[in-house]
Structures are given as C-alpha cells and as structure tokens.
Amino acid sequence: MKQVKALVLRAAGVNCDMETQYALEKAGALAERVHINRIIENPSCLDDYQILVFPGGFSYGDDVAAGKILANQVVHHLADALKKFISDGKVVLGICNGFQVLVKTGILPGFNGGDNINLKDLPVSITNNDSGKFEDRWVHLEPAGDKCIFINPGQRIYLPIAHGEGKVVTKDTATLDRLKSDGHVAFRYVDSEGNTGKFPINPNGSTDSIAGLTDPTGRVLGLMPHPERFVHNTQHPHWGRLKDRSRADGITIFNNAVNYVRDNL
C-alpha cells in the first residue's frame, strides 16, 4: 500500500501538533511536524507530502487577531508553494487556529481557487465568540453537502471546540449565499437531533451555524472543532455511559484524507 505522507505545520504558539500527528498516524499516514521556518527556507519540501495540516493553537499568541500573524507570514513567504500544493490535487486541513489561518489567507473559501491567496478583500472572517470568552465544550456537527473529501456525507459527528474566536462572518449576504449555493459549507453546528439552534448548540454565534468550510475542490477543509481530540473512545466526555465503546468520531476525518490520497494520488 502506498505510504501517505502528512506535514503538520509548526510555528510559534501552535500547540495541537503532537496529537494531530498522532491522529494522522493512527489513520495510516506517516506524519512529520515541521517548523514554518524550515518550509520558508525550502518551500519545495512540500513536494514530499500529500497532506498539509495547519493544527490548532495560538499562533503568535493570536496577537492582533486569531491566526492573523501566521496568515501574514504564509501569504508573504509561501503563497506560491501553497498554490502549487493545492493545484497538484493534494489535501489541506486547518483545525481551529489552522482554520482561522486558512480563512485569513483567503485559501478558504477560495472562491477563485488558489489565486485567492492574499490578505486583501477577504470575503469571510472568523471573529470573537458572541459569549465574549474562550470556551471548551462538545458540539454536534452535521455535514452539509458531499463535496468535501474529508467528511462522510450524512454522518453527524460529535467533537470538542476550544476557542475564543470561532464565529464565522461574511462580508455581506451575497457572500453567505455563495458559500451555501456553491457547497462551501462543510459542517454546521446542530443539536443531537440535527437541528440548528442558539447557544450552546451554536457555541460561538457563527453565521448560519457554520462550523467548517471547504474550497471549490473539496480538498481543503477548515473547521473550528478538533477532530484530533476524539480518536480514542476515552476522549468522549462521558464515555462511561456509551453503549458503543468503539466510537471515536474524529478519526473519520483523518481516515478520509489518507484514503483519498491512496486512491487518487
């Protein structure tokens, strides 16, 4: 079987890199954690990998705004390399702070594909939770559409969020309409029955309950919840009550990425 290689990007303040590496390896990939300075020194090192993950954390302390400084660094130093990575048909995942970076570099929603990597006139942003504070809690997620290669269409999953800036906002309603009509919405926050609702069902007040976005190719996914934090049954907040002791919803995201690479690249 083909060895799938994943790069987990490190930078100052990134802090979910180890467990993300573990989740990728559990899904069968060979995963390496690489500091952004090494990639800037040699952008072509990305050629060795088929999966690129921007993990969670507080890159540069979330100073100015969450993910902003890292996004700035990526656009100024790695725009071409990332454009190539995506146009080569490879897959990119941004989790929590990584999602914020993907949105603030324009990679998501990426209305015009890779050409959108820049810092100007961004259509979407992610900002402060309506609650005004950081929150760690578990949420149900309903997949929207079937374009995104990371998700199992129709399978509702349960994952934790842990962020203070997770509210997805759009420049205007036309942008929101386009996100919906073009299949950019990957996940919505719902209750255990699949219905959208107010806090805490939608934990941050996100527009249209959006929890995750994908690009036009379906090969780039960004989401606020942490799939790498539910790859063992005992990570569930009340696993002692579960009948199904094999359940670990987050691993499906990583399995799908690895399987996609095996089948397509």
């Binding site: 490190r10 100052a12 303040g13 802090n15 979910c16 180890m18 467990e19 573990y22 989740a23 500091h35 300075n37 090494r38 969670g56 954390g57 507080f58 540069y60 302390g61 979330d62 100073d63 100015v64 705004a65 902003k68 400084i69 700035n72 660094q73 100024h76 130093h77 810092l119 100007k120 006139d121 961004l122 979407v124 942003s125 900002t127 402060n128 939770n129 309506d130 005004g132 504070k133 950081f134 929150e135 760690d136 809690r137 578990w138 934790p160 842990a162 906002v169 759009t170 420049k171 942490h226 790498e228 934090r229 790859v231 063992h232 005992t234 990570q235 907040p237 009340h238 002692g240 009550r241």
Partner: protein
Amino acid sequence: MKQWRFEVCNKAGFPDVQGDNVLDDIKELGINTIEMVHSARVFLIEADFEKDFAIRAAEELLTDMVCEDYYIGRSGAPAGPEKATLIEVHLKSGVTDPVAESVVAGLSDMGAKVKNVRTARKYVLLGNITDAQRDMISRRVLANDCIEDVIYGSDEEPPSAHTKAYELEISEIPIRKLDDDGLVELSKKKDLFLNLREMQTIQKHYQDLKRDPSDIELETLAQTWSEHCVHKTLTSSVDMEFNGEKIHYDNLLKDTVFKATKDLNKEWCISVFADNAGVVAFDDKTAVCFKVETHNHPSALDPYGGAATGIGGVIRDPMGTGMGAKPVANTDIFCFGLPDKKLDDIPKGVLHPKRIMKGVVSGVRDYGNRMGIPTINGAIYFDDRYTANPLVFCGNIGLIPNDMCFKHQQSGNIVMVIGGKTGRDGIHGATFSSGQMTHEHETIFSHAVQIGNAITEKKMLDTLLQARDRGLYEAITDCGAGGLSSAVGEMGEKLGAEVDLEKVPLKYAGLNYTEIWISEAQERMVISVKPEKVDEISKLFAAEDVEATVIGRFTDDKKLTLKYNGQQVGQLDMEFLHEGICKYSRKATWKQPKLNEPVIDQKDNYNDELLGILSSYNVASKEWVIRQYDHEVQGGSVVKPLTGAANDGPSDAAVIRPKLNSDRGVAVSCGMNPMYGDIDPYWMALAGIDEAIRNIVCVGARPDRIAILDNFCWGDCTKPETLGSVVRASQACYDGAMGFEVPFISGKDSLNNEFLCDDGTEISIPSTLLISAMSIVDDVNKCVMMDAKQPGNLLFVVGLTKNELGGSHYYKIKGHLGANVPTVDIKTAAATAKRIYKAINKGLVVSCHDCSEGGLAVGLAEMAFAGGFGIKADLKGLAKAKDCNRADTQLFSESNSRYIVEIEPDKFDQFAKLMLNIPFGQIGKVTDDKKVVIFSEDNKNVIDIDIETLKKAWQEPLSL
C-alpha cells in the same frame, strides 16, 4: 522616523465584546448613566513608511476588514447628543507588550523597517458622568495603576520607553559601622525584607572581610535569604506548647513533612524535595513530576498579570526539573473574598473580589491555553478573609524520561540564559512576596508585578525539548523568584560561577547591573552547556527564533563573581550565600479554641437546606471557570473536570493519558478545607489528605501509588499562635502521610498572608493547607465517573457517617461554626480506599463519588443530576456512629473517608464480599423519575426535590 497611529474598532452590526463587558462592569459599580461603550485597539508605530504603506498595514495586518474599521490618526468624540468621554489606557513604560512584538514581526514580513510599536486600548463612554465617576471607572474597571497609565480626552499620549544607555556606577553600601537601628533602616529603605538578625549576620561577615558590600551583593543576599526562597520559618527549630504539653522540633519541615517521605522510603520516588518539582516513576521508560506554587501577592495587585505569571512560572518548574520535563497538565486552586461583597466594605488599596476573580481566571486561562497545556483539575474557595489576600495556587505536571531526572553541571560549563529578554519587571518579587501587604503596596510595589508572554515560553519549550533529547546541555533551571541571582546562584552552589551582566539581552536600555541580576522578567531559563556544544545549541534555538545568550561560566572557586564590562561589581562566597543565614528558634503555641455545637431544631424536611448548600459559593458549579480553560489540548483527556449525561457534573479527579499510544494514565486531585482549620488545623490537614485521596481513588487511580504535595498558606508566623497552627497541621501531614503511605514529594509555603489596613487593623487569611495528589492509573479504560448510570442500580455508602457537623456547610448556611470537626480514622480510611480501588479495578463499580462538602445529601444530588436520573434513598441503610442519630446530621455531616458507590444488582454479592469489615450500607437505588427522595430513619420524607431544581440551584450562583 514617522510616528503612526492606528485605531481599529468593530463595524456597526458586529458585537463589540470588549465594550459590552466594560459596560457591564460599569453598571456593577452602580453607575447607570452610561448607555454605551465603544472600544478600539490602538497601535502606535514608529517606522519609516509612508501613507500608502500605512494603509496597507491597516488593511492587511491590523484590521479584520470583514468586521472592523480603521482610522489612521487620533479620532475625536463621535457626533451625537450624548456626552462622550474618551479614555485611553497605555502600558507603563517597560511593561511587556506581546501584541507589539507580534506587530513588529508582521510588519517586517510585509517588508517594513520598524523602530518601535506600542499598543493601547481606547474607550468611548456615552452618557453623563462626573469627573469623579470617570476616575473611578478608569481605576476600577479599565486600567490597573500597577502597569497602566490612563489619559483622558485629547491629553498627550505617554512617550515611548526611554532608551538612555546605562553608565556603570558601582555603589557600595557602608554597613560595617551601622548600629541596629541603622541596619533595620537600611533593610527597609532598600526593600530587602531582611530582619535585624540577618542584617547583623551580613554586617559581621563584611566586618570580617574588612570591606563594605556592593549593592549587588546585598541584593543577592536578600533574594537568596528571602522567605520565598529558603523557607526560613518552616525550617527553623520550633518549641511548641500544645494543651500544656511541650514538643521540640529541630527543623519543623524536616521533622514532619520530609520525615514521612524519608520513613516511607518508596522505591518509586525518584527525586523528592530536591529539585524544582518532585519526581516519581510513571512507566518503565518515563517518570512524572509535579509542582504546585502560589502567586498570591502579585495576584492581589494585578490579578490578570499576577495569575498569568503564576501559571507561567510553575510551568517552568517541571521544565527546570532534572534535565527538563514536558508539561502535560495544569491545576489551579483559588481562594477569593465573597463575590457579592459591597464595594464600600473593601479596604483601601484592595481590588473587589469579583474583579480579582475575573482577572485571575482570565490570566490563568490566557497563559495556560496559549501554552497548550490542559488545565484539568482545580477548586475555588470563598471566604471573606481572602478579600485582601487572595490565594492563587498553580500546579504543573510534566513527563520526563527516566534517565534524565538529574542534572550534572560541571566546572568549565558555559552559563546560557534562554527565552525572554530581561527588563525592569518583577524587581523585588521574591522579597515582596515574603512580607506583609499594606494599603500602600499598590503603589510602592508596582514594579514587583511581572507581565508574561506565553508564546515566548512556548517557543522556548519547543526548542528546549529538542536540545534535551540531543544531549546538548548538562543542567537546566528556571529563572523564578530572584531572577538570575537565584538561578545561577543555585546551579553554581557547589562549583562557583562568573557572570558578565552586560551580556544579558535586555528589553530596553538603561538597566543597571543590579536590576539585570535580580529582575524577575518572565520566560527565562538558565542552562549549563559544555563549551564545545555552544555552537550547536545556539543554532538550534536560533532556528526557531528563540533568544539564547552566553552570559558566563561555571568555575571551581566556589565564589559567585559578578562583572559588568569586565569590571567586577560584586563577589560572594557560595558558602556564605547558601549556608550563612542564621538558624532560628521559634516559639509556637496552640490551644483548642472553646467552641460549642449550636442548638438547631429538628425539622421534617430539609429541602431548603440542601438547596441552600448547593447554591453556596463553595459548593456551586465552577463550570463558568472550567469551560474557559482548554482541558483537552494534547489529546490525553480521559476523565474531564465536567462529566455526566449533559457534560456538566462535577468530577472528583481528572485523568489523562500522557502518552497517547499507551493506556496508562495519570490522575490528579486536591483537598482543602480552611473552615475546619478554624476549629483545629490538625484535623483540617488530615481532612485535606483524606479528601485528595478519596477523590483520586473515586476515578480508579491506584491508592498505593499516590504522591502528595503540600502548600501552606498562613498568616504572620512570628506570632506563636499562628506558628502553632502551622505546627498542628505539619504534625497531621506526618501522621496522614505515614498512615495512608502517601509520601510528600514537593511543597511550598507562603507565609505573611496578612493585610494591614489604613486604619491599622490586620486581616489574616484563614489557615489554608492545599493538598494536591497525583497517582497512576494502570488502564484508563477502567476509570469510572461520578454520574448515576442506570435506573435500578444499587447505591451504597462506604465509610462511617459520624456526628461531625463542625465547620460544615450545613452549619455555615445557618451562621454557625460548631465544634465537632470531622476526624479521620486513618487505618480504616486507608483500608477503605484500597477496597474501593479493588472494586473499581474488578469492574464492579459503575459510578463512584466522594462524599465531602455538604455531606451525603449533596453527594447524592450531584450523582443524580449529573446522570439525569432520580435517586431514592433511606437513611436506615446508612452505616453510622451511635450518636449520629438526627436526620440533619446524617444528611449533612461531612465525615471523611466516605464514598457513594453505584453497583449493578447482579454484582451485589461480589461487592459486599469485598467490603467485608469495612463500614458500609445500602442506602438506595437509582430511579427513572428524576427526583431525589430521601427518607429518614423514622420514615419522614426529609428530601424530595426534582433534579432540575437541584441542578439549577447548583449552577446559578457562579454563572457570571
């Protein structure tokens, strides 16, 4: 250079979270005329770019153009009929500004050359207020005098930090000829916090040397001899008088707490009371270490910064243990004054408890979350006596390879300082935290407050672990209290060291050599490196933008030599520095206070009492705090702080799996009962030990692998009766550790937690002993949680319920203290813990909950509402002492060593057999009617409440 100013605020239609929070806080002050608050972020940038670039910087870097607007320059008051008050909050010169550092990095990525960046916050208050109200809002809500300056309206912005270079001027302190008054005066004038005897010792030493000390020598001695660094009170010899009996201790700590560890001599204790954290075995390749520190005085002055650097500092303890551990979990325990205390009743110079609480919680949150370390366990305790002296305990657990548990620095090694740069922050932190606080501390000791930058520490951690695994250094320690003076002084104690102070990287120019030496600027560590490895390790740090600088070398002359630009500015004998401090003999007395049990009429129903206890601050849900902490980062979470059907029940302890590919776990819990100390500190201490053990056993951790930590926080121990209370608690620590066979592996004390009000009254905190416990879980899949699992299951109470309402929450809500403080029958308690563990390990137990604050009734209520089921119980089934015959005593007694256990009916026989000779009884069943119903021995329906009502009472008080 041009000076650019940018203001960034939310677009209309997007909530202004910061402004809304400020408005709420203003209303809490009782000012209701403000209708709206707009907030803005301000960036002051000194750089050589032009307007077109400034616009780019604003649109691409500083502003989120989807939801924010920017303004270049200084905007005036908005047009409109309402009065607008403009307030700007700037950081004081020299205070760390992490956002500014990131903006510099961002601008340089954009290609700009930047000289200096500062940030500020701007508020526009709409509505009529007086100048006095404006000042009050600034002081109480917007800014902290310690670290921030406020400007109003169009007042001039404060200038940027002065950068005048320092010119060497060595100052000597003529000490040899001073009389006693002169010595005391000198200590006071220089904030040395050294007493007369210590000053005399120093004087004698310099008389023998036939010279006077330089200022840096005197400061080094003050730092090293501070209470904070050497624990001179608890290690002194003590003559104790107790109920007429006399007991002598040569060294209080060594004869009690340490002695238990020594006597127990557990082979799994690897390094105890020797390093920055206590180290015990985890598995065949790895050890685990644990340290809990306090950061009380700084948190009283600047709750946010004080608490943030509290957690930041304790994280560096495991990082500085052995050759450096990887932090895997944080704990935090806070003691605050009452959140509903009237503003007018707050002593001068003291912040309101609610502001302290919000600041402390967000400080720990922002630092811990940014470090990517889960905060997994904690507690909050409220008592009026903590108003002026809040207690902030922060703990950290780290994982370290077995073969890296010890340091081996040698003569000839190079001294390097890594991580943050040195500034004027935190000067005199160690000495300041060792003294009594007064209403003037706010202004005098503002420089003792340190400001942290978590990302600097995280970067340092990431690179340090790589350097450790590549064997690039010989020893490591953190720069905590006393700064470089303590770190280098300790590491070179047996060798000698020479330091070139001008080489230490500074945040800004102008620091003199003594300031460099004793600054407690955060995020710094000291390592000892072989000369041939300096290049390689320097490259490793540089590769990830971490500051690392050679500042000296370890010698073999057993002297500490301090130089500035090649000129010697001080030299101390290591021996005098570390051993020269005089030994103290102290007197301690303790008498049983004369207390009585209150007379309370019996009732037929105790619904109101149960609801009252559930909604008392100490018992009420801490979910508001817990959810602000990331308790799942690193992915090892197994038992979370909140659990149950709706993820909101209170877990007894936390469990993590620090190695993701292994089923072995680490469990953490704590125990603390200051109220019992008002009756007898001995039983308070034992209750804390028993509670920490109960909690950790409840989740399935091994009772034979529990290691515990002590944190003593007391008042002024020069008072014999205060020291007597410490001695009582220390004795209990010995008895408890021996009886339960749980060694202490680390500890810390914080004394002098007293406040001198401007009217001369002294407020002392209640005697407070925190016991933190850590243990091993062999297989995390066997852990159990506290929520009721299944209707029809049987409920047992294991352990004896006694007539012990003294210091209980039941008495507290009725305004009494009582006398019958809960005791511990250590032998039975230890046996009970072992049996409970066995039952859990055999898979007989589906839920288990500790019976503590609020007693049985609270325990049952929590299990029921966490599980979403009802409970029907009958007090006839309770194992109880003969004199425990009233329903209220049985419901609310806080007798120690009790567990509530849920068992499936077909496991009854096996469970009962296992509990043979342990007092236990079947108390009831889990039901599906969502009500907690308890019958008294005479068949009265003493409790009958639905679980929604119970949960609401428990959740509401602290939903801030």
